[in-house]
Each structure stands twice: as structure tokens, then as C-alpha cells.
Symmetry: C2
Subunit: 387 residues, 2 copies
């Protein structure tokens, strides 16, 4: 491919990316955002429309007088299948270009001893039922609650499910048999990317996303890029030691990890409750309603969470720290403890511009991140992937 | 400037960068490294030679038979002034293109209560005496033991010297009066960059450099780029909390910071020694020679250092962790403690490829990093900067 052709295809991807994350945009706005003139937008849009990726229509409320800038809209006929393997729950969804969840299936499941075959079989069954024969599936993405090798979706380590070196991505693709590979990412990595694209972190390239499932994970963006590290396993904030001297034992074999002090088990133990999908929210609700035991439990967990966040602020000088998954609930009740620890332990210069926010995508952050993995090839080269 | 002209100047900078970090290279090797043909190298080299930035000569040992590939050598007539403000010591050096320290001045000084004017006056006096009238000074760079604003070299926070918001870069440039700005960076950031360019981290883009002065600092490269974060203040590993429950008080006002548990004061207190420039090395020497008190002190500090390194390995999945400054000495004595903590607390997947190394540049890592700040404008656009 020539340099010019390469730039042209890259421009097509950029335009498609704009409408994918922002929804329908007028040609005028697209021209401004991309820094090109309207005739270029016209040509690019025509190509994308011919490939069935966008439609053009007059903006809502147009009366017919004058010549309003046409609105470019992502095609509702183009979608991905997104999968989310959390500790308590399996989810599959059809997600349209534009990032809307069009349909979904979900199943709760037991926590331990679930093998690869069982998980893949359930996901395939849910995924198949979501296929829309009249529309075009352009990709497959999956989120997993553990450490994932980026190249092939091998789960290297997922202690909550007892998985070590399980070929999740390869096996899921094979079983789905749709002629498409499955891109797999760590759930917190994907949550971070989704919050940056369309959530609480839009426009903030130095971003930390903390995700509480049963474990605690992190996704960290440095200059707008996911911190992968040497092998793609970076951001393991859940196993940062915050209480090395007499910390709670962690599933990883260590003790005093952030996950051990702030995860579901720690909160429920402190509150004297039994684990279960709705248990964390019940503690938080009770704490906010004035229940003393529940409030003491969220305060204790919030204190450790604050130490962890202070460390991350010192290390990353972020523009925003986003609390997602069950940590979104915890932070709602424990914001004062978190703030106090940050003030005490984070350097003033490091924290002066760091905002603390709740996840805007809430329960769908990881799923939407998985969907974006599925859309990645299309957005990199729209004509090739749509062909 | 046209796109083509821009690419041409960028190629000139790339060639100059190669000989700056690797020393003299044959045209053949340059052609291979840059992926261009020899006639392109010939043309680029001719331009750089005309500007006085490189010389060409037959390789050593050539007899005159055949046509050996000429060797391109960085000009010895092109240099920067580099400055290093450490807690105990001020250094200034003339560093030639190619990264060799050609001459240096150094002065020890008292630790606290040293104001900006005094430091600037001493640096200017040392710097002036290093100027080589027959050669060309192309830039000025400085390393500072605290948090530095990248744009203008403002020291935002330097607790060891008691500096808050001191306009170090601007004042040093004004006082030197050489018609050149001074680029200032944090000492550990610069050490990391220098080790990556020409030290223990060459070829390892996910790199952690830990620098022990009196305090402890970090420089972290993610995908070959310094982790700056939102304001350029990232990598504050020294204030990562490793012992929050009953840690030693830290100069920053917190307690149990990595710096408080592994810095000079912690080591000397554990060993029952008096602070001073050579005191750390004496403890390490004694520990290696079998002195029990000294060995217990290095083991205790090494234990906390290992916790900090384990956390960093979990967070960054680095290819290498480099121990510099006084932590280079500490690691020599405490490697077993560090290794044990990493094994216990870092995830196997995160640590499987992480090498642990001593700084290769030792006492000159921060100074050479400062020199590279000074060379940055020249390497970005050789003809403009040399004009």
C-alpha cells in the first residue's frame, strides 16, 4: 500500500472512530475535529457509506429551508459480539457501531472450579443467540478477570477461577466458528480504555481506572496509551502491597495486597456479612443509611483504598482516578477516608490536578471495552475489515 | 518547513543520535541501523560534517588497501554544559557530543538551608570555568534532586534542600548568560533516560531506574518514554507507602514511605552510624565483609526495598529494574532480601522477564542524563541548533 493510500485509509478510520465514540456528528463538526476541509469529509463519508458503515441524513428538526450540514451516523447494521467473564457472572452482548448495547445475555455462576470448556460453552450459547443475520458482525472482543497475554488471549493467571495458562481466546474463537479471531483483554484494562473513550475519563490521557470485582484490578493510561509493560501484564494494582506487616491473606499467596484489604471479601468480613453478588451494595447502602457496623466496614476498607490511591497518585501523577465495579460503590460510602489518605500521603504537586470520579459506564465499562477490542480492526482500516 | 524537508532534518538528527549514543560508527553500520542506503548516509554525513557536527576518517588499523567504510565520529568540538544538584554535592561538567565527560568541577556542600541564589552562583562559577572558547556549546542541562516542572525548570518541591517553587532553570540560565536556556529534569528521571541510552537498560523500553541520593527517587520508562503523567511529576516512587502502620517518619510529612525505609537515614540509623557522604558505602563494605550490625542494617533496608520493587514489578511489568546512586551500593549487599520479597509478592507473570541490574553509569547517570537534555535541541534538528 502506498503512503498516500495508507494515510487515506487512516483518515477513514479516524472519521469512523469519531462517530463511533461521539455518535452522530455533522460534517461541519467532523471537518473541524479532523482539521480537514468539508470536501474531504464529503469524500470520506461517501466511501464509508458505500461500504455500509455510516448513513447520512439531515439533522433532526430540519425544515427543509437552507442547506444544513448533513449528519453522519454510525450504521446500525454493523456490530460486534462482546463477552465479559467476571468472577460471578458471564455476559455476552451485541454492541453496535457507536457503542450502544443492542442486546445482551447474562448468567450468574459459581465462583470456583469453573473450567475453560464450561465457560466457553456458555459464552458460545449466549453469543450465538445474539447474532443478527440481517446485520454484519465485524469483530469479537472479550474481557477476562485475570492476567491475559495480549497476542492470543491466553489467560496466564486468573486466581478467582483457578485458571493458569488457559487458551481462552483461541478456544472461544474456535467454538464460535464465525471466521473471526477473539481479542481478549484484562477487565480493568478494558474498563480504563472505555472510560477514556466514552466515560468519566474523556480527554484525560493520564488516567487510572480501579475496578473492583471480587478481586481488584487496575487499568492505567499513560499519555493516552494503556500501560502494558514488557509483556502486557502491567497495572496489577490489586497486588500492590499496602499492609505488609499484618495484612489479610490474598488469593495470590501473598498478604496485605490492595485486593486483600479492599476487595469484596475484606469488606464483607469487616461488616460480618456473607459473600454474594448483591452483598457489597447492601453494605454500602446500609453504611450510607447510618448503620454503624456497615459504616465502620466501609471506612476501614476506604482507608486502605486511600493508601493505594495515594501511592498511585505519587507514581503516576494522573489527571483522574476513576472508581469502577464494586469499588464504585465502596467509594460512594468511603470518599472521606480516601480523601484523607490522599491528603496525608500523596505529594501536593502530584495530587494538585488529580480528580476523583465514579465510573460513568458503571456495570458496562468492561463490556464496552471488550466491544472496542472487537471494533479495533474495523477502525484501523474500515474498508479492509468491512470487505 | 515542507514535509520532505522535515523528514530530511529528522534523518540528520537520527544519524547524529546514533553516533552520540554509540560512538564512532561506520557508514555501513549506520545504513543498516537506519534502514537506508549508503548514498543516503553519504549525503547526510556530508551535511553534518559541513556543519561541524561529525568528522569522517578511515577506521583504526586500516592499511590503505581496499575501500573500507569510513567511520563517522561525533565532533569533539561540540559540547554541552551539564549540571547536577544532589543533596550533598554540586557538579558541573563539559560533556562532548558522544557523551564523554571532558572536564568536571564538583563541590560538596551542607545539606539544608541552601538557597537558590547560592546554588546558582556556585554552579555558574563552576560552569564558566568549563567553557572551551575554541569549541561550540550547544546546550545546557541540569539535574535536580526534587520535583521539577518540565516546561521552565521550576523546582516545585525539593524537601532535602527546603525548596518549594524556586525558579531554578530560569535563574541559572539568566546567571550563566550564554544565550541558551537550561533544561532541567528530576535526577532519577534523567538517570533512567541515561541508563536507557547508554547504560544498563539499552534496548529495554520498559525500564525502572531507582536512584538513592539522601532521598529515593525513580525514573520509569513505559514503552521507551519517560512516565511524566499529567504535569510531569510522575515516578515519585520514594513516597510510595510501604510501611503505613508503623513506618519511619519521612521528610515529606508522611511516614513509612519507601524513602523513609530505604534511604540513607534509615540505613545509617539501623547501622548506628553518623550521616555523611561516604557513610553508606562504609556500611555496605562492612556488611559484605561480615560485620553483623552492618549486615543486619542492609538486610532490613533490603527487605523494604524488596517490597517496593515487588510493587513496582506488579504495576509496571518491567523488562529491567536498575539500582542507581546509593541504592546501587545497598543492592550489592541486600540482593538476597530483595529477591526474596519479589518472589513472595510479585506475580509470577509480572516478574518472569524482569531483570535486576546495577546502574552501569554509576555516579554519572544523572549527570549524563542532564547532558542529554542539553543535547536534545541539537539532536531534534541538527542544522537549526548548530547554526
Amino acid at each position: 500500500m502506498s503512503g498516500e493510500m495508507h494515510r487515506h485509509r487512516s483518515s477513514l478510520g479516524t472519521l469512523l472512530h469519531h462517530v463511533h465514540v461521539s455518535g452522530p456528528l455533522s460534517r461541519a463538526v467532523l471537518a473541524e475535529r479532523m482539521g480537514v476541509n468539508r470536501s474531504t469529509i464529503l469524500a470520506l463519508t461517501a466511501e464509508l457509506a458505500a461500504a455500509g458503515l455510516v448513513t447520512e441524513e439531515p439533522p433532526a428538526g430540519t425544515t427543509g429551508a437552507g442547506r444544513p450540514s448533513l449528519v453522519v451516523r454510525p450504521s446500525p447494521e454493523v456490530y460486534v459480539l462482546a463477552f465479559d467473564v467476571a468472577v460471578d457472572r458471564l455476559t455476552a452482548a451485541r454492541v453496535g457501531l457507536g457503542g450502544r448495547v443492542l442486546d445482551r445475555r447474562s448468567a450468574s455462576r459459581s465462583r470456583l472450579g469453573v473450567d475453560l470448556d464450561t465457560v466457553v460453552r456458555k459464552l458460545v450459547s449466549m453469543g450465538r443467540s445474539l447474532i443478527a443475520p440481517e446485520a454484519t458482525c465485524v469483530g469479537l472482543g472479550a474481557s477476562y478477570c485475570g492476567m491475559v497475554r495480549p497476542g492470543d488471549g491466553m489467560v496466564r493467571y486468573g486466581p478467582e477461577l483457578g485458571w493458569v495458562d488457559q487458551a481462552f481466546g483461541t478456544e472461544l474463537a474456535k467454538a464460535l466458528d464465525l471466521g473471526l479471531p477473539v481479542s481478549v483483554g484484562n477487565e480493568a484494562h478494558l474498563g480504563a480504555l472505555a472510560e477514556y473513550e466514552r466515560g468519566a475519563g474523556v480527554g484525560v490521557p493520564d488516567l487510572i481506572y480501579l475496578h473492583g470485582d471480587v478481586g481488584v484490578g487496575g487499568g492505567i493510561l499513560v499519555g493516552g496509551r494503556l500501560l502494558g509493560g514488557d509483556g502486557g501484564y502491567g497495572c496489577e494494582v490489586g497486588h500492590m502491597l499496602v499492609n505488609p506487616v499484618d495484612g489479610r491473606p490474598c488469593l495470590c499467596g501473598s498478604q496485605g495486597c490492595l485486593e486483600a484489604e479492599t476487595g469484596e471479601y475484606a469488606l464483607l468480613a469487616a461488616a460480618g456479612r456473607t459473600p454474594g453478588p448483591a452483598a457489597v451494595r447492601a453494605v454500602v447502602r446500609d453504611a450510607l443509611a447510618g448503620d454503624r457496623t456497615a459504616a465502620a466496614a466501609t471506612a476501614e476498607v476506604g482507608d486502605w483504598l486511600g493508601i493505594g490511591v495515594a501511592n498511585l497518585i505519587n507514581l503516576f501523577n494522573p489527571g483522574v482516578v476513576i472508581f469502577g465495579g464494586m469499588l464504585r460503590d465502596v467509594y460512594e460510602a468511603a470518599a472521606p477516608q480516601v480523601a484523607a489518605r490522599i491528603t496525608r500521603h500523596a505529594m501536593p504537586v502530584s495530587r494538585e490536578r488529580a480528580a476523583l470520579r465514579l465510573s460513568a459506564l458503571a456495570g458496562d465499562a468492561t463490556l464496552l471495552g471488550a466491544a472496542d477490542l472487537g471494533f479495533a480492526a474495523l477502525l484501523a482500516d474500515p474498508l479492509l475489515a468491512a470487505a
